[in-house]
Amino acid sequence: MRKYLLVISAALVFVFGCKKDADFLKTDPSNILTDEAVWKSESLVLSVLADLYNRYVDQQTITNWAEFTNFDEAFPSQASEYWRVQQIDYPYDWWNLWDYGQMRDLNLFIQKCSEATALSEDVRNRFLGEARFLRAALYFEEVKRMGGVPLITEPMTYNFSGDPTYLQHARAKESEIYDFVIAEMDTIKTMLPDNPATQSRATKGVALAMQARAALYAASIAKYGVNTPAVFTAGGEVGIPADKAEGYYQKALAAAQELINGGKYSLYQKKTEDLQDNFAAAFYDKANNPEVIFAQDFKLKSGKVQGWTITNQPWSSAEEQQGGRVNPSLNLAEQFEKLDNTYAPFATNAGSDYIYYDNPGDIFAGRDARLGGTIMLPGSKFKGKNLDLWAGIMYWNNGAYSIISGDTYGEIGNIPGGPSGVQVVGTDGPIDGKEYSAQTGFLVRKFMDPAVGSGQLGTQSEVWWVRYRYAEVLLNAAEAAFELNQPAVAAGYMNTVRARAGLTTPLTASDITFDRIVHERKVELAFEGHELFDNKRWRLAHKVWNGESQSASDVISNIGKADKVNTQIYGLWAYKIYNPGSANNGKYVYKVVKSANVTAAHRFNLGNYYSSINADILSNNPKLVKNPNQ
């Protein structure tokens, strides 16, 4: 009996114990999703797309604060970043970008999405439009930094034949990449939803905004390329012929006007009782913000939060033992006009004596509201707390002022011949060489989150990073109109942007000059990642960063000129007066100062206009030509 059982069970084992060989290797994996499964499910495809959105490339962004301090817009108040104001030349490989890994992922997505019949037509079209938007955005970023790059629109696959030469593609012309971006936007704007409430995914609005920006970049490179004849390659990989400028400007104006006349977006005007607050809120207010066209969004308690507020919070209201890093320069602050549309440095002296101000903020009064909206000034508030931003006490000593100051935030000291145990320097600085203090006398306000907890490492902030907004579209339209000899149209768009900032005296058509256009972008779009690329496309970069040291009087002259030299960061420091018995006792005076850490004058070489392609990429593909002047 037992023997039979053994035989039968042995037989059963032989018959059923093994799978067919063909099935053995077909077990579905339990830890990854297969291509097949993903392309059947709308929500899974959306996750794939979310990853592609997450890889969108920015050069300056709020999650990478130190990049904002490269170009003399701001000083890096952290000891490990001082080198940014101490090295003369920008390395040629800075900002270089050659991300064909991401490009392949985008191309794969587009290929597979076009074949995904399991998805409904509408859904598929939108996904396709979004992926093509992201691909164009990446090509736009490539061409901004590298010039023409190989234009690959299909995923390439190696056939293991031992000969990869069929995968090597030469660089396209710079104009061809811009043409590609512009043409893609024409196609996809009809595939994407036209809904201004969708701000973190691609819409018709952002397609038009990107088209306008790209066409404007191409146009200005074509027009202003004559200023840098050495920045050019024979094959057109770098440089665009001047006769194309007109066409690009027209395209830029048309795209911008299509968005403007669509009427779906408008400038943020919800807090008009205080125009400075209103401008600051345009960046942090995410509820029904009509100005933001496309942003990188963040969400509290989701794992995707950002630390811009921790990085830059003033010490006086800091929620952690850090902050104060991005210190806007005087060079930037003085660019903000007076309300009568004139440029002037801040009034520090009357003849040989100082000008005495009752309140620390008085020196900044009567200016463009964007000054206080972009920069935290002495005398202003953050999170309801007054900033404590002054460099020391000037006391009267034998017929002249002497200065006493401290080495740490809000230090207590003694005034010689005066009271002891008094505060001798502001809690927020400025203290020269003290990291996290406002070493230029200013702190950044744009994108700073006034919500409680935004300065805590455990909470952080969900303020978004605005990549495209309506005011920039207006300025793009203004620039294109100006270049097309329609100064009245340009003035109209400029005045819309300026009126929101409290500059209610309109500019006339004859006021609009190239300097005005450049200046308006500088003040409206500070800390939004435009400065470097604007100066590159206008071929102003080698003049603005010419490697020559600046004196204090250089810094406060030529304000509002497009090619104003901006190689070294200066600050504006407030001092309290201690002079009992004098009418000036307790008032504030200001000094233009340069931090001892600012030792180099930045120089943008002709070879910086287009970043270098890494040696291993050149070596792998002999068809690539190098960028010029390196």
């Binding site: 004849p229 001892a596 030792t599 002709l606 040696a615 291993d616 050149l618 070596s619 002047n629 390196q630």
Partner: protein
């Protein structure tokens, strides 16, 4: 106790003998010389000019960049072998000369044992007969600007600068004071004179404060050429 001593000794011995010496010798061959015009070195700014050495035959190709010093000299430690020397377009205040062997601006180079070689180029201008003197609180310079390239590639002079610095490195990014003379206001290239006031206190961050000497130099900005042409650095006693 005893055992621990052995173990320690063993560990030290292992550390000392476990690794072999790296099996490549470091490059030992010196390649040096100057960038010259008719044997005379061409002075440039610090960290402004470099040229490339390519050594074909390896799997990946990549250039060895050789930096040209302020006085126009260079030196590089290399392995023996065959190289190609290229001065990239746009480097320096000069143009490359067509090489007879390659019929292009590429210079073939065989390195076997230390080599001294000057690289001849065609500068746009040369600064000749430079004399820098000090009188009172002023430094004065007289010199001649000789135009070397006079054919279709000739370039005009945009600006001439006269720099003073406290260190021996003097150029457009390293100076205490300077004066400028625009090219259009030069009437006689054979006889140019400039002067600069010596500031009462020559001291700044990174230098030693008051010192009784300074360094002077002439720089020439040529229209459409990025790198400036410089004269030799002259030490003057204050």
């Amino acid at each position: 106790m005893f055992r621990r001593k052995y173990i320690t000794g063993l560990l030290i011995a292992m550390t000392a003998f476990a690794c072999k010496k790296d099996n490549y010798d470091e490059p030992k061959t010196t390649f040096q010389g100057s960038i010259t015009y008719q044997g005379e070195p061409i002075n440039v700014a610090s960290l402004a000019v470099n040229f490339e050495l390519w050594e074909p035959g390896w799997g990946k190709s990549g250039a060895i960049a050789v930096q040209v010093l302020e006085d126009g000299s260079f030196s590089s430690l290399l392995f023996n072998g065959n190289y190609k020397l290229i001065i990239p377009a746009g480097q320096g205040p000069f143009r490359s000369i067509i090489n007879n062997a390659t019929n292009s601006d590429t210079i073939p180079l065989t390195i076997s044992g230390s080599t001294t070689m000057n690289i001849e180029v065609m500068p746009y201008y040369m600064i000749r007969n430079q004399q820098i003197t000090k009188s009172g609180n002023t430094a004065a310079a007289t010199f001649k600007l000789e135009q070397i390239i006079t054919d279709a590639n000739a370039r005009s002079i945009e600006n001439v600068y006269f720099y003073l610095n406290q260190t021996a490195i003097v150029d457009q990014s390293n100076y205490k004071v300077r004066t400028a003379l625009s090219g259009s206001s030069i009437t006689d290239l054979n006889n140019v004179s400039m002067s600069v006031d010596i500031p009462s206190s020559m001291s700044s961050v990174g230098t030693t404060g008051d010192q009784n000497y300074a360094f002077a130099r002439i720089g020439v900005k040529i229209a459409g050429v990025e790198d400036l042409l410089y004269s030799e650095v002259v030490k003057i006693n204050l």
